[in-house]
Symmetry: C2
Subunit: 456 residues, 2 copies
Amino acid sequence: MRKILIFGSGRSAPSLIQYLAKESVANQWQITIADKDIRAAQKFIAGLNNCKAVSADIHDDSTRDTLVAEADLVLSMLPMRFHTLVLSSCLKHKVNLVTPSYESDGMREKEEEIRKAGIFVLNEMGLDPGIDHMSAMRVIDNLRDEGHRITVFESFTGGLMAPGYDDNPWQFKFTWNPRNVVLAGRDGAVRFRHNGRYKYIPYTKLFRRTERIEIEGYGAFEGYANRDSLKYLEKYGLQNVETIYRGTLRRPGFCRAWDLFVQLGVTDDSFIVEDSEHMTFREFINSFLPYNPHDSVELKLMYYLRIDQDSGLMEKLQSLGIFTDEVIGLKRATPAQILEHILKKSWTIGPDDKDMIVMWHKFFFKDKDGNCFQKTSSMVTIGEDADHTAMARTVGLPMGMAAKMILNGNIDIKGLHLPIKREIYDPVLDELQKYDIEFTEKTIPIEDDYEDQPIF
Amino acid sequence: MRKILIFGSGRSAPSLIQYLAKESVANQWQITIADKDIRAAQKFIAGLNNCKAVSADIHDDSTRDTLVAEADLVLSMLPMRFHTLVLSSCLKHKVNLVTPSYESDGMREKEEEIRKAGIFVLNEMGLDPGIDHMSAMRVIDNLRDEGHRITVFESFTGGLMAPGYDDNPWQFKFTWNPRNVVLAGRDGAVRFRHNGRYKYIPYTKLFRRTERIEIEGYGAFEGYANRDSLKYLEKYGLQNVETIYRGTLRRPGFCRAWDLFVQLGVTDDSFIVEDSEHMTFREFINSFLPYNPHDSVELKLMYYLRIDQDSGLMEKLQSLGIFTDEVIGLKRATPAQILEHILKKSWTIGPDDKDMIVMWHKFFFKDKDGNCFQKTSSMVTIGEDADHTAMARTVGLPMGMAAKMILNGNIDIKGLHLPIKREIYDPVLDELQKYDIEFTEKTIPIEDDYEDQPIF
């Protein structure tokens, strides 16, 4: 029996574990899930083959080393900051490692050690990052193989609610870490390239410069820009494209309303709100509005943020209860923490809710004769239930498939990698289709002058 | 002869040196100015008594120690980050130290060592911080001594151009570190208290929530909020006031126009603009605007920032040359660095220009019978010439006066202090009057209901 060790049993663990357990019978695997608190793991492995849960503190070097020494492959589903700890044990015992997180600076610093140890370390093997790389690179490599020149690349991903389950005015609920949603865009200016020009967007304009896209059968979405699209120029070998832009999808109207929180200042995570514990939601909002004893909080906010009565914006805000007298109850909280607390009351995914992952790539390319085309590649997948959400499945399944390929010796790569090589992404994208995670491509001829395309 | 050692010969040095040199004859002082580059110091001491300039690298421990060991008093005019180095030598040789900078965390960590060494360390002894503390505390202590209860405290300071010299559409030139002007407000949300309520302002609204004030004989000004007014509650013993607000003064219209830079994103200091060296001013501005090949940069900017043709805002922007084809020429520069470079072309103070410092405090207080009053205390002072600017004088003179008091034994204090004690501020404020730095107080009765006062 070959042994797979999984560190962490968070939200994306159930789909990973279910996949590995199913495959374990034919492949003769033993699966161990290590977590400080094993209750979630125990729930996820109930009724599954070849799985066990063990209690382990990732900071306990000796326990971690013992577990890794016994394993043939390690999958780390822990938060990104713990991966270098896991890596240190993998280096010591020469065990391969896969994670769904961004390749950190800490990882890159160990690249030479990884090479010397002769192990394979694969990061960014989830959804975003993960499936985004794989699906984009498949199109990019195919276009190149056919001798075409890519001029434009845009890519959007969104974790949303499935149609029928998007039943609030924002058409949004949390399917992942709510804190990341609240702090989105705060970590620095956006950088991208548009028709050969470098463009920058500050946080204060981020949610007002969205692009609208439509996906057949699923309607309209809007995308706001991710922080740094430029780093993908090199990553994807697209140094010569005229346009590169990566973004995050929401349903139309979300971003305009979210911008109200940005303008108000309530997404700030850098200071403590005075007496946050005993403050009401209404008082919290009022603390960001100018003093005026004669007007209501609602009226002051509408005036301050220039909200028209009939814009639908107040309806979105009111749906969150931000004007109520409910007490916050959080000690020494930042505005961002309080906003997250408020949003969770309306945006927590229910046991019967279904989520949806949407991914959409757009390419413009020229063939050898100078003819221009637009190619789109899009994927929409719906969650199964509250454990096996679309988010959990699209993160967990690629992780599991990478594990299978590595253990079966179907990948002959050593060193530190992302899933941008065909020998990794081809089998994974093919197998994902069996799990209803499938890309639809469409190519249409366009005019040479792409300057008349939608402007953002 | 007693020996005064001055570290640094920056913009506020000439007024300090001139004051000390003049006083040195009667007081029998020897003044040494230590700087890495002594050319400025040599110019400032030309024709003055008892002064010499020596070359010294502040990072050279042995040179610094030798200089401090010989001194009876050290004045550090260096940037704030170097003061703890100076302090280490002062602690070793038990020499008193005065600086015009904010008391840093590094200073506070040494409070116990300062106490044990039995020396006197006085920070915040310039203008702002400095004269602001002293002039406010004089009013606060007087009102308390008379048995009054203070309910409102607002305080504004501005470094501006004197009337007649404010000859550009912004009515503004740099009289201090331009970088601080460009980055003003970026370091965190504003916090203050208004009529008993805590209020917060994010950067994106900072320059739109100004307060207008008028000073007799000098016309109208507008003030935007300084970052943290709340720390003055304890510092000034004003824990029970209903309102505390500190701000920075500009001429009316400045802030509304400056907000355009904030909204555009060009005050960002966190990333490098691609190929900043060869870019033109116009291309720089365009890189923050949405792509559109059909409209001019000016038109896009007006549309993007919702600027009305007749608002005077475009005139302000155009006066800076931001739409010209002048090449930036700065390698690997941030947006803030490029903006500073552009602004310096229009806002550099000329040899014949005169600047102006404006300080304005407003208090509401109640007497024992419940009668309410407003008391204002304001100071306006005009610079003498390009060296002895109002800024240099209001920073350098209080430093010099503190030096005189310490060397003459007129202050009997040890430990780490700010100039908020009467025994420090009274003689300094009195002497400043002889140098045309004088506060005018005015008290008028007001209605008990201060809720009808101007709203901000």
